[in-house]
Symmetry: C2
Subunit: 408 residues, 2 copies
């Protein structure tokens, strides 16, 4: 029997993936599991967009253009305009989810052995796409004492080397929920310009910025317009993770030309989902404002509950729907597994993402977890009840491991 | 401005891709273009499957499992059973089109620098997926005098080297329409076994075998069951190229485990399309038999018309919906471009795929084209009228370039 590839065996998985079979098993045995481990919201997709799918009179599900349907790209121009981003349809390439957009961006901009600097903790699947492209991720550590704010420019400059081609940030951030303001982006822009790098920004959570903070897109860094490549997706804002519609947005024609080659190779993004995606652009504004308000309530709930847990370090995340908290535990992998296998409160437990997998630097994140507040506040309160009780009874509790600290 | 990657610039395009802007231009100027360049049929997708999409009451377009919906995989078992293929749902991984299946298969089975042997001419996008994975394609030339039959086992053995990990065939074939019978596959199996290789088979056209030939799946090569990886897609059989639903099918658990890592990385295949795909499995049998009969009529039309064209070498393809013909021309790229830009018959012309791009060996295919008989017979006759006339008036006609020959 021929052996599979090394790269197949070595492709990294998401931090919570190995917990899924365990979760499935305990659920089958009757335990209720509150899933705060994955960015899959319980919020309904816009009814009007689903109605557009039901109303389709398409007779032949034909290939769409590789770059996406012209009508959808045209309407996306209006969507970005709301964020003061001036685009032509040609600047937007529709992709099969944000995931494919990341892959196309990496392959289009970086050759084998090239480096991309990413503040850690970062969205763990970036590792996998870098692995496919034989790209090296150079991490730059952000820390909980600043609420995982963007590291100082000096820290970036210190690790820029001859093979460094790009800086990649997620704003607002997954997994930390940190919101990077305009000033932070401007600082980054000066580094990018000085060293002639690409600036990749994953902006899929741009709708979810709280406390009246105003989102500032990297596409509006006019001074480095040709350096910026933005990743987008409808998954989070329209609670449509399963549609698989994302986008690459860039003013840089060379990047678009390269990405277009990869897009043509896979022929087209999904067709039915493009009907849905185009219809989201006609959804009433209050859909998004209601969703944001709902997430804000959840955010307050998580923040309030974490603050009240002895030994837990937390902060109030400024965006997205994640919080990255520090627990008085020995090992986050072990703790998350124990939560599923050993713990229950009134027949329920909570599933979280262990922190280690979000770091590229070995040894970091062992006492941290990502909490995705994707459940309604009633379920979230119940999940926090579980967590509070679990942290008390966890045999691996280590009270002196971290100083209790609440920032922000 | 930072420069894009070399691999982005070097990713090969489909043979007809550079002709698309020209086709768009002449169509905008009023010329009718018969598209025989792409495998996009004019046949309607099954109405019952579209009705299932319209009937969906999904409220949240959530991620599906990375390997595809359990209900769909379960029903696919019954589909394969019709071809005497015995599978469990776990043997089937749902992918975003056959394209993604090819990419996952390559990445899962081959490391950088590994080689895959493919009979040429072959589906040109295999080049691109090999390029992404840094995989070397070793071509083995099949020729028109045998109707592009599978080369002899000795020819395969002659080019197997230490880095050869797989043989990859398309059955029935795109671009040649050649059907490989059971005996040919058995011969291949013995080579695969002897050298412990993978056998990759793209079977997306398995429904379209003509002249009462019986399709034999590589999954039924029981002697090499662990070596076989099959690529599938609903695009062609259900005229649903835009759905983007394919599959990897293999008994080899290690391959499935590796492919599953890549699948998890991109989270899930498209959700709405899976509703469509699952519903295709309830479509009445006569949908497929009618479609096959229609393609058979088109096949006869193309064959009859090509035979009557002086200087054209053709054969009767046994499967799929392609024919790869040899023309009395100097250069297929130039001819296909001339057809669009310079030629017209009653305001119309025909678009074909030039042959060169289907070969990995330089210099081959310069007087060959792929004809996709994806239009109804009325349009097909009109397209053949154009072609017949064009071959007479083409300034680059080279009558002595090939011996007029009709095989099969």
């Amino acid at each position: 029997m021929p052996s599979v590839s090394k790269r197949g065996e070595q492709t990294p998985l998401s931090p919570f993936r190995k917990l899924i079979p365990i979760a499935d098993r305990v659920k089958a045995a009757g335990k209720k599991v509150y899933h705060l481990n994955i960015g899959q919201p319980d919020i309904e997709s816009p009814a009007a967009a689903m109605a557009a799918v039901r109303a389709t009179d398409t007779k032949i599900l034909a290939y769409s253009p590789a770059e996406g349907n012209a009508s959808y790209r045209q309407k996306l121009v209006g969507y970005y305009k709301k964020f003061d981003i001036d685009l032509e349809p040609e600047h937007i390439m529709v992709t099969t989810g944000g995931s494919e957009a990341i892959q196309f961006m990496f392959l289009s901009c970086l050759d084998k052995g090239d480096e991309v600097i990413i503040p850690e903790p970062f969205y763990a699947n970036y590792n996998g796409f870098a692995h496919i492209g034989d790209i090296k991720i150079k991490p730059i550590t952000s820390t909980i004492d600043t609420g995982f704010a963007l590291p100082d420019p000096e820290a970036f400059e210190a690790i820029i080397g001859p093979r460094t081609k790009a800086i990649f940030i997620t704003n607002p951030n997954n997994p930390t929920g940190c919101f990077y303001p305009k000033e932070a982006l401007k600082q980054l822009a000066s580094i990018v310009k000085k060293h002639d790098l690409f600036l990749f920004v994953d902006e899929v959570y741009r709708e979810f910025c709280y406390d009246d903070q105003e989102f500032f897109s990297a596409l509006n860094l006019l001074d480095i317009q040709e350096n910026v490549v933005v990743i987008d997706s409808i998954s989070k804002r329209y609670s449509a993770c399963g549609a698989r519609i994302g986008a690459i947005v860039t003013y840089n024609q060379q990047v678009r030309d390269a990405a277009s080659r990869f897009a043509k190779l896979r022929l087209s993004p999904p067709g039915l989902a493009q009907i849905f995606a185009e219809a989201t652009l006609d959804v009433e504004e209050n859909y998004l404002s209601n969703v944001k308000e709902e997430y804000d309530n959840r955010r307050q709930t998580v923040y309030r509950r974490l603050q009240a847990m002895p030994g837990v370090t937390s902060y109030k995340p400024g965006g997205a729907f994640y919080c990255f908290a520090q627990f008085p535990i020995d090992d986050a992998d072990a703790f998350c597994q124990w939560l599923l296998e050993e713990f229950e409160l009134d027949g329920a437990t909570v599933m979280l993402s262990p922190g280690q997998g979000f770091y590229a630097t070995p040894g970091l994140g062992h006492n941290e977890v990502r909490i995705a507040y994707v459940l309604n506040t009633t379920d979230l309160e119940a999940a926090m009840d579980c967590l509070e009780e679990a942290l008390i009874s966890y045999p691996g509790r280590v009270d002196n491991a971290v100083e209790a600290l609440t920032v922000n």
